[in-house]
């Protein structure tokens, strides 16, 4: 059962909303119903968010993102359509039951933090539990735990205005975590932060997500952020869904020109991972083969190297045409001594931005190796360069390799932006 399911959601502001929904459901663009004097903010949006997923809704300003996310917790009632949380339709709940759902199942993080200025950091973080009527001791203890999770231990007795933007948003995050709901809605939660702090927060969110396994609906207008965080991304355009898919699907297989244009200048090297550009590992040879057999395999495939893998596809190393030719000439019985075992290995989830260095120093294609040490693909240098060019109208690299739907979400924070205590100190100034 999906954690969140939106079905044919519409939100139209204005008196003649029902009429507008009727016209819009026939496929009209929102500019075509100007005469009704309504604002169609969200039009026929359907999606499902699985438990534990980070689902990103991305679109330009005014595309209806905030309106959409506010319908997910009932802050705005939809004009038409339904929202199901854990299988129950919240659009049909009484206001009392709706409040119960909000305090027990969904919490929210806001663009401008929305911290209560007259409460301390601790009281802010404990707010959700206070509303639920949890005793003071217990809620403060849980709030302290959440604050330490987001790295704000020791700040609990300050008031929000004493904190920098990044720290304030961590309080916002701690408030959502303390409420201990399975679902967290984040409306442009990092958009008001400086780029460096923003990256920092993204990394922290991914880290937290890896341990806590929340279901997160994350709103952003920043494609790079969407690509970095989202297990799946929903691109909104003028209130309608333009495409829903993984970062790679959207990059490599844009559903239409709009999405294609949108993703044109995304930093592809940070979004695409080794698995999305790698090629099938051909040819491979078995370590039991003799040099002659190996040489034949290499020649048949018209290459200069072959990867040596065991029967269970675990990578042993690589042999080059030259080395084997030498071995054949000296009449060696097996490949021992010919196999280079110190070749570059990369994980399928590594962003390709981090592959260039290795590719540049290695004379051979990079071997893509999974957690068990099995060879899953190879990346010749030329492929790496080709990946940088945007696909031409929806084709391109999509054809290459198997499209593993591996999100970039588990990538470690890039080395150029270490989170140090020093930096945190600076944020407070």
């Amino acid at each position: 059962m999906p954690a969140v399911r939106a079905t044919n959601l519409y939100k139209v502001f204005g008196r003649r909303a029902p009429k507008a929904v009727e016209l819009l459901s026939d496929g009209r663009h929102r500019d075509q119903i100007k005469e009704l004097d309504v604002t169609a903010a969200v039009i026929d949006v359907s999606f499902e968010v699985e438990p534990g997923e980070i689902f990103v809704v991305m679109g330009l300003s005014g595309s209806g993102k905030s309106t959409l996310i506010r319908m997910l917790n009932g802050l705005l009632p939809p004009t038409s359509g339904s929202v199901e949380i854990d299988g129950s339709d919240i659009t049909k709940l009484s206001s009392r039951n709706l409040r119960a759902v909000r305090s027990e199942k969904i919490s929210m993080v806001f663009q401008h933090f929305a911290l209560f200025p007259h409460r301390t950091v601790l009281e802010n973080a404990a707010y959700g539990l206070e509303v639920r009527g949890i005793a003071r001791e217990e809620r403060h203890q849980k709030a302290m735990h959440a604050l330490s999770l987001v790295g704000l231990g020791g700040w609990e007795n300050h008031v929000p205005q004493q904190l920098s933007g990044g720290m304030q948003q961590r309080v916002g995050l701690a408030r959502a975590l303390t409420a201990d709901t399975d679902i967290i809605l984040m409306d442009e939660a990092f958009s008001a932060l400086d780029p460096l702090i923003r990256r920092d927060m993204q990394a922290q969110l991914l880290e937290l997500q890896a341990t806590l396994g929340k279901t997160i609906v994350f709103i952003t207008h920043d494609l790079n952020e969407a690509m970095r965080l989202g297990d799946r991304i929903c691109v909104l355009r003028d209130g309608r869904v333009a495409q829903i898919g993984t970062a790679e699907e959207i990059l490599n297989d844009p559903a239409n020109d709009y999405v294609a244009q949108f993703v044109e200048d995304v930093d592809r090297t940070r979004v695409l991972t080794a698995s999305s550009v790698m090629e099938p590992p051909i040819p491979v040879i078995n370590p039991g083969h003799g040099p002659r057999a190996a040489l034949r395999t290499i020649r048949e495939n018209q290459t200069t190297v072959a990867f040596v893998v065991q029967r269970d596809r675990r990578l042993v190393g690589l042999v080059s045409e030259n080395a084997i030719g030498e071995a054949v000439r000296t009449g060696a019985a097996d490949l021992n001594g010919t196999v280079e075992t110190t070749i570059e290995r990369v994980h399928p989830d590594t962003p390709i931005a981090e592959l260039f260095q290795q590719a540049a120093t290695s004379p051979y294609p990079l071997a893509v190796v999974d957690d068990e040490g099995r060879l899953v693909g190879v990346i010749p240098r030329i492929t790496l360069l080709a990946a940088l060019a945007p696909p031409e109208n929806g084709e391109g690299e999509a054809a290459q390799g198997e499209q593993e739907a591996d999100p970039p979400s588990e990538e470690p924070p890039p080395a150029d932006e270490p989170r140090t205590d020093e930096q945190n100190e600076e944020e407070t100034r």
Binding site: R102, S107, L185
Partner: protein
């Protein structure tokens, strides 16, 4: 004969004034008991306050001291504090209804009181004072046992002791030096209030300026005016804030309230006096009623503004975590609107002061009647002295409420952020 005689000239004479009169008469004849209750309550409040301000009783001072300590204790030790307060209130009601306190005092051994009676030169025991003393002592004991709010209890208790000793021992001992000892005691008390709320500058001003009022012989009038203003402002605020909240929540209410407030504020102040006298006859009550109507609008407006100007995201945050409307109002909107609301209260008090002077014309008493007498007898000196006293009161009240405003949670948070 002209064929058009059945036509009245345009515009016809509209009987708006008469309609208003008729409406008032209808109101009075149908709701006379309501107006009686309102009038009695107002005059009871005004008398209570002005008698306290001019002749403070030991029982009243003791009760106030106990009240301050109770307020400090009620959060950390809800139960014992509430029980004590409840018992005391029950005793007071018993005393008020059938002299319960006197009964109890009579049961207690006489030597317990003889010493105190001798010390203060009293020939009877005031049961109210005994109850208040018991209240104060109980709370000080709670504070001492629980080790909380000890400092506050000590300061208030010590201050109370000093006041009693000053008022009943020191001042009478030097009658040649201090002419009006109760007035000077009150000057010191008000200055102490200023010290606590607004700091030493206003406190110093109060000592000097209020002594000037005593010196020009306007103390009683000033205190009478002060009690009129405070009662009128209290009523105005109690009515204004809920209306302001409604107007902030509901666009229709807001649209209806706005023109009504405009009308109330622009109508010449004197006009309110006429129906007020009609309903409540001469005296303090019509003055207070007219003042309430005249002074209320900024209270409503600034309450509405204060709530409306709160960041929408903050209210949404409350909603998003499932808080019910009441909790959002009391936990988010009112605290954050407090400084704006207090600015409104400040304006209510200032308008109230200006109106109370006008109300002197209908026999509300106080400084207003002094000024009015000055005008009618062409007595410039009297008018000027009354005016000076009004100005001093105005400054005192303005700075005091302004200081309360800057003590609001929002302002405190901002200040600590700046530090």
């Amino acid at each position: 004969m002209n064929a058009y005689t059945w036509l009245t000239p345009f515009p016809p004479r509209l009987p708006i004034g008469d309609a208003f009169e008729a409406f008032n008469r209808w109101l009075k004849s149908n709701f006379a008991p309501v107006f009686d209750v309102i009038g009695d309550t107002i005059s009871w409040l005004v008398n209570l306050l002005s008698s306290f301000l001019t002749e403070p009783q030991a029982a009243q001072l003791t009760f106030i001291a106990a009240g301050i300590i109770a307020a400090a204790l009620v959060r950390p030790h809800r139960l014992p504090t509430l029980i004590t307060t409840g018992v005391v209130l029950a005793l007071y009601i018993g005393q008020w209804l059938f002299g319960l306190g006197n009964l109890i005092v009579n049961q207690l051994p006489a030597p317990l009181f003889l010493w105190a009676m001798g010390l203060f030169g009293q020939d009877y025991v005031d049961a109210n004072l005994v109850i208040a003393l018991g209240f104060l002592i109980a709370l000080v004991v709670i504070a001492a046992v629980k080790q909380t709010a000890l400092r506050r209890a000590a300061v208030v208790g010590g201050g109370w002791l000093a006041v009693i000793l000053l008022g009943w021992l020191a001042f009478p001992a030097v009658p040649d030096l201090i002419a009006d000892s109760t007035a000077m005691l009150m000057v010191l008390l008000l200055s102490a209030l200023a010290l606590v709320v607004a700091g030493w500058k206003l406190s110093l001003f109060s000592v000097i300026a209020l002594t000037v009022i005593v010196g020009i012989g306007q103390w009683e009038n000033a205190m009478s005016t002060l009690s009129l203003v405070l009662v009128a402002s209290l009523i105005a605020v109690v009515i204004a804030i809920p209306i302001g909240i409604l107007a902030a929540y509901n666009a229709v209410v807001s649209r209806i309230v706005k023109p009504v407030l405009d009308l109330m504020q622009t109508m010449p102040a004197f006009v309110y006096l006429i129906p007020a006298i009609f309903f409540f006859s001469l005296g303090a009550v019509p003055g207070v009623v007219a003042t309430v109507i005249f002074a209320m609008p900024p209270g409503v407006r600034l309450t509405e503004l204060g709530i409306r100007q709160i960041d929408k995201e903050l209210v949404e945050a409350g909603e998003a975590f499932g808080a019910p409307t009441g909790k959002i109002l009391t936990g988010i909107q009112l605290p954050l609107a407090l400084s704006t609301i207090m600015a409104g209260v400040n304006q209510v008090i200032m308008l109230g002061l200006s109106m109370v002077v006008i109300a002197g014309m209908v026999g509300a008493g106080g400084l207003g009647s002094q000024v009015y007498q000055g005008i009618s007898r062409n007595d410039g000196a009297l008018g000027f002295e009354g005016g000076i006293a009004v100005v001093i009161l105005a400054v005192f009240l303005d700075r005091l409420t302004a200081a309360i405003t800057s003590n609001s949670p929002q302002a405190r948070a901002e200040r600590s952020a700046a530090s």
